[in-house]
Symmetry: C2
Subunit: 264 residues, 2 copies
Amino acid sequence: MASVFVVELLCVGNELLSGITVNTNAHWLAGQIAKAGGIVSRTTVVRDDLDAISAAVQEALGRNPDILITTGGLGATYDDLTLEGVAMALGRKVSINKTAAEMLKRSYARRHLNYKINKVRLKMATIPEGSTPIENPVGSAPSVMMGKIFCLPGVPAEMKLVFKKHILPLVKDGVGKYAAKEVNYNVTGVSEAMLATTLVRIVRSNPRHAVYLKTHPRGYKKTTPRIRVQIICRGDDAVSVGKRLERISKIILKKISELGGRIE
Amino acid sequence: MASVFVVELLCVGNELLSGITVNTNAHWLAGQIAKAGGIVSRTTVVRDDLDAISAAVQEALGRNPDILITTGGLGATYDDLTLEGVAMALGRKVSINKTAAEMLKRSYARRHLNYKINKVRLKMATIPEGSTPIENPVGSAPSVMMGKIFCLPGVPAEMKLVFKKHILPLVKDGVGKYAAKEVNYNVTGVSEAMLATTLVRIVRSNPRHAVYLKTHPRGYKKTTPRIRVQIICRGDDAVSVGKRLERISKIILKKISELGGRIE
């Protein structure tokens, strides 16, 4: 069985908690990690507040995920507090990192921006002591890595590139051999409740994380219930996963038929 | 000054942590609460896991928000565990609630569904002891209220109606007198870093929560930076809020002009 590799996400930003910005970063990251066989155990969203960030980092580390990814709060403005919050959580100081400052200079040069590395801009190179900066391939602020913590920018294009290059390979390594297959059935004439007992029996008789069964309501056609049944199997290799999926599908399709339902 | 009224959100569901469903519930709730003058201090998303739900509820209550809203996990299927998790966090038992069972019957009758209230369906009326069910105006599962905790369905249409009827009035009451004004300037020729010192000075010289200043990068036109400057003022009444907004706008516009920037 593929290893269980657990990731926590911590997204920082008032705009995520006031209806301004939809948290598409958490959604995209979760999708990437799930596709690679990893498990996002929790996402936390906090405001641009030093104490809130620091507390959330400490709590996340206390749950001992394999990695913790933060997004947002790496810029030059007063409300960019993620690195200070992470440092506080770890009982470290922040200081100007020469490598990070060089990255910043290179990022301006690459974009032909005639900016001085002044005090305000140096904030983006002021990182927790003992941490490692990661160059930002698109924008300015470097990402930061320290142990199992990865601090990524909030700008989606920047975040995605850093994730793909530096974190996704770690997730894949951590998960090891991995295959997944999914099938969905659109069903008419069977409600969620009618299938519930069958599904729970299947989930409980298979190894943890090997089978994910979920029914999604699709409303009613007059008084006839319509649902989507989603079956995902995960494991080491495509053959065994495919066999498990087939076995489970058969049981569910038989039950749907017995209940008088039909597949659209 | 309007009172500070703090809300925490706890969203439950594997689909929110695997790239399947974007957490639009948290986004919508945050927008509604912010518009009413409340503050969402944190959003937590956990999987359909009893221990994870229970732990997240305990942690949230430990931070003592004015209210805690959960979404999702109220249905009849094996992975609907929110109410059990909340009960566990509070050291209570769950049991069948007669009022909730009546609500369930009415919801089927209203939709002309010829369903028996069997064991599986009764799960939706099995709620923490001492809690109060709230009728679901659209779907089946009642919402649940106990003290400062409100458990809402995950289906957006159902969640929204219950929020508007039962929670939004509490937020408004808690906030008291409230007015907010917002203005945005699209600026060319000034970067985030160039304005940073001015903005932090303004924020720190005003009462907490009274002023929200944020710069949003809008990329570069060749090497000319472009940003949006967002100014939000909050307070008791429209007149004082408007005056504050005007005063702050003047300072920022003057600085932009001094820096050689211009408003589009």
